[in-house]
């Protein structure tokens, strides 16, 4: 426990990944494998169950503390964190020797105490622990009890550090952490050993498209297939016999946040890898990206969020077909294989449905989460322009043109071209500016905009500030004399500076408080100062 609480403290003092590395690697090398496994457990945000209510721990503290309930309560409020306040309020004694030493010992003992239904035993355990522990350790102990462990190391940073430490790729570590595991010596051993994961569910390098939006169409348009450029999260779905992984284009493992896609993928044949786009979906229609983002913002998914925003994997390519690497096959053939795969899956499900329907007509539904992105054969550029007009109605970003005979290749961008739909503009008023942190704390890093709706200001978007912005000085000057309130990095100002803003799309959304979702908004120009009115 001492080493672990010292680790937490050191991580708190470490301002960048490099420093955290210098703290964490020696820690992992010095503690037992089992302690290391428990540390991973806590860093990943897992908790022992059940945990104490903070009121219960406060009541315990009231019994041993020299202060009255009210003072305890005021202290907790001032600190804003019960675990921390109580760690401060219990006097250091470190007199009694506790037989518990290692983190594993402590975790096992805490786990037993949490599960105990004997209140006086629980109390006795907590009191003697408080007596035996120093302040930093008490803080960790309290947080473990309350299930509120906070460590200044994100799972992503942990993955990176473990990858470097063990000579594996970050993706491999992420996969191992994603698989079901229990804290044990063997788990940590397997986590840092690079053998035994040859056939793991890693993604392939992603192919990307060159932007042709402003450069005109290629000459031989008939040698391309067109498809929608969906506005979601690009991802590869990897199905292996004993594991499924969904990787974002940035190499992040998304499984935790895509549970319905994982269960949909279970129906795929083993050793299948699909490329596609994760989309938010509701009532047979795609949702704006901002709604999807809302769902992805929270790490743990609430039932409400998954009901509001269902997920769909819109597949547009196949990279591995039942164990066969098909990336070098021409696009047309890959599209065939993909549609066969997804429609045969449909067919099988449908025939099962027919059989079962005799007994329980509603018991089987087609899994709607895996969809095939439609493909268009083009005869001429007019057809393309027609499609581009439809793009807006389809709520997609635009169109992709892909060479029919091209292989799936991440290096040759010219096989895939993207053409985005023209954006839309609106007038919005600047309501607040956001300052940076650290050495940038006097620098405006983002602008927040709102529109007037029924005499009410409704926030619509945030736009990052660029050094090249010509209106930067004007805004800074305006902020100086028109600040309403500064709260943390946010500074709200009088809503009088009006800008023209352009957005890839403006889509209505029930989830956004403004009722609309803007996609990739940019400032076009400053329209001027206008006293509060409708815009």
């Amino acid at each position: 426990m001492k080493a672990f609480s010292e680790l937490c403290w050191q991580l708190e003092q470490s301002s960048n990944l490099e420093k955290k590395k210098r703290v964490l690697i020696p820690y992992f090398n010095s503690v037992s494998r089992e302690d290391a496994a428990w540390s991973v457990f806590l860093i990943c945000g897992r908790r022992l169950k059940p945990s104490f209510q903070s009121s219960k721990l406060k009541n315990f503290a009231a019994e041993v503390s020299p202060f009255d309930d009210e003072l305890l309560h005021e202290s907790c409020t001032a600190v804003g964190d019960t675990a921390e306040a109580l760690a401060f309020l219990i006097a250091d004694s470190s007199l009694s020797e506790f037989e518990l030493k290692s983190l594993s010992d402590w975790m096992n003992a805490i786990s037993a105490a949490l599960r105990s239904d004997d209140l006086s035993k629980q109390k006795e355990f907590v009191f003697s622990a408080w007596k035996a522990l120093g302040e930093l350790e008490r803080l960790c102990f309290n947080r473990i009890l309350l299930g509120s462990m906070k460590i200044d190391l994100s799972p992503k940073e942990l993955i990176e550090i473990l990858a470097e430490m063990s000579g594996q790729s970050a993706q491999q570590i992420a996969l191992k952490l994603e698989s079901k595991w229990r804290v044990s010596e063997e788990f940590f051993e397997a986590l840092i050993s690079s053998s035994g994961y040859e056939n793991s569910a890693l993604s392939y390098p992603f192919a990307s498209a060159a932007d042709r939006t402003d450069k005109g169409l290629p000459e031989d348009i008939t040698s391309y297939l067109a498809e929608w450029k969906w506005d979601g999260i690009r991802a590869q779905l990897v199905k292996r016999r004993d594991s499924i992984a969904i990787w974002s284009g940035k190499g992040e493992l998304l499984n935790e946040r895509c549970l319905e896609l994982i269960s949909a993928a279970e129906e795929l044949p083993d050793d299948t890898v699909l490329d596609g786009e994760i989309l938010g979906w509701k009532d047979a229609d795609v949702l704006p990206f901002a709604d999807l983002e809302l769902r992805f913002k929270t790490r743990k998914l609430s039932p409400k969020a998954s009901a509001e925003v269902a997920l769909v994997f819109m597949a547009f390519d196949i990279l591995e077909d039942s164990g066969e690497d098909v990336r070098s096959l021409p696009l047309l053939e890959r599209k065939d294989r993909l549609s066969q795969l997804i429609s045969s899956r449909r067919k099988r499900a449908a025939s099962e449905f027919e059989q079962l329907s005799l007994f329980s007509p509603c018991s089987l539904q087609l899994n709607p989460s895996l969809k095939l992105s439609p493909v268009f054969q083009l005869e001429n550029t007019e057809q393309f322009q027609e499609l581009l007009k439809d793009a807006e109605q389809m709520k997609v970003e635009g169109l992709l043109l892909k060479k029919k005979d091209s292989s799936y290749h991440c290096e040759s961008e010219l096989n895939w071209l993207k053409i985005e739909s023209p954006g839309k503009t609106l007038e919005a008023v600047l309501i607040s500016v956001e300052y940076g942190s650290g050495t940038k704390s006097r620098k405006i890093v983002a602008y927040h905009f709102a529109v007037w709706k029924n005499a009410e200001l409704i926030r619509v978007c945030k736009i990052r500030a660029e050094d090249s912005d010509e209106w930067q000085d004007k805004i800074a000057e305006f902020v100086k004399s028109n600040t309403i309130k500064r709260f943390g990095p946010l500074c709200s100002i009088k809503p009088e500076l009006v800008f023209q803003i352009s957005s890839k799309s403006i889509v209505s959304s029930e989830l956004q408080s403004s009722g609309v979702a803007l996609r990739k908004p940019v400032i076009i120009k400053l329209l001027g100062e206008r006293a509060s009115s409708n815009s």
């Binding site: 708190e12 001032a78 006097r442």
Partner: protein, 363 residues
Amino acid sequence: MASSKESLLIRSDAGLYCPQGDFFIDPLKPVDKALVTHAHSDHARSGSRQYLTAAEGKHVMRSRLGSKAMIETIAYGERCNIGGVNVSFHSAGHVLGSAQIRLEYRGQIWVVSGDYKTKYDPTCSGFEQLQAHCFITESTFGLPIYRWPSSESVASEINSWWAENQSEGRCSVVFAYSFGKAQRVMSMLDESIGPIYVHPAVDELNKQYIASGCKLPSYGAIGEKSAGNGALLGLSLFPKAMVIAPPSVFGSDWCNQLGDFSPAFASGWMRIRANRKRQAMERGFIVSDHADWDELNQVIQESGAQEIIVHHGYVGPLVRDLRRRGFNASSFASRGRDLSTLSGKSPKLDRERSNSDWLQEDS
């Protein structure tokens, strides 16, 4: 009970007032006679006709109140008579020249603590424990969560952070209030690690400290534009240095000229993690020039006072806890009825300070 005896101090809208001697202590508004505990801006305000302050703080008080102010000084422990009240100033250990003010009138002794601390600080005289019938104490950090680590442990934390930054070629910048905190932090630095620089505002106060006989490590001052344009190229121009600057310049052009640096904040509020996170600085060092919970209670206990008035900061919690332990404790707000003794004048009660004020104020 206090109400049965005459109060030597009451709170008016211009601050603490002694009706017997007709003077104010740390007045909030311009008055005729002002006794000032120390030169922090929330205690020493300009505009009064006549000031009395402790001799140790005369230089800092002069630079705070301006060259025209009429300032008289008195040595710690020396007595004078103001309107029949026996007045003396005694070291409060808070910052250079800080004083507790002792009033004696017809056998009654009242002591106003001003801001104070009892922990060792080489940049000012140490706290003197006084005896009183009524002790008026500050309570800036009057909650039991506020307990300071020893100066030695904070000093070694600061110095090892400095050395670590140095090994990475980054400048270390500690943001600390120019008066008191900055000098205290400087006194903790290990000069053998590297050069020490300060912001002009700190330099200004340092000169007063040195003129008052305080020893500080040798340092240089960085002016507004002394670093030139190198910083624009992302170079760290002071890669080995420790720089002390007031928090208000964080993020300013002055800061940007330092190039790449690691920012840290020195304050008692850094005891709380959430406060450290909120500062947008890389480190928070717990350095306070106020008494922590244990110091407050010890001083109150040893004052032997029958009556305690809690004046500044977390008033409610300390009052309640003292009462629970059998002290006759109160706040000026709850002693409001005393104002009726002040005939002819009808000062209004100023409201108890709200919680949010405290975070900004640490002086």
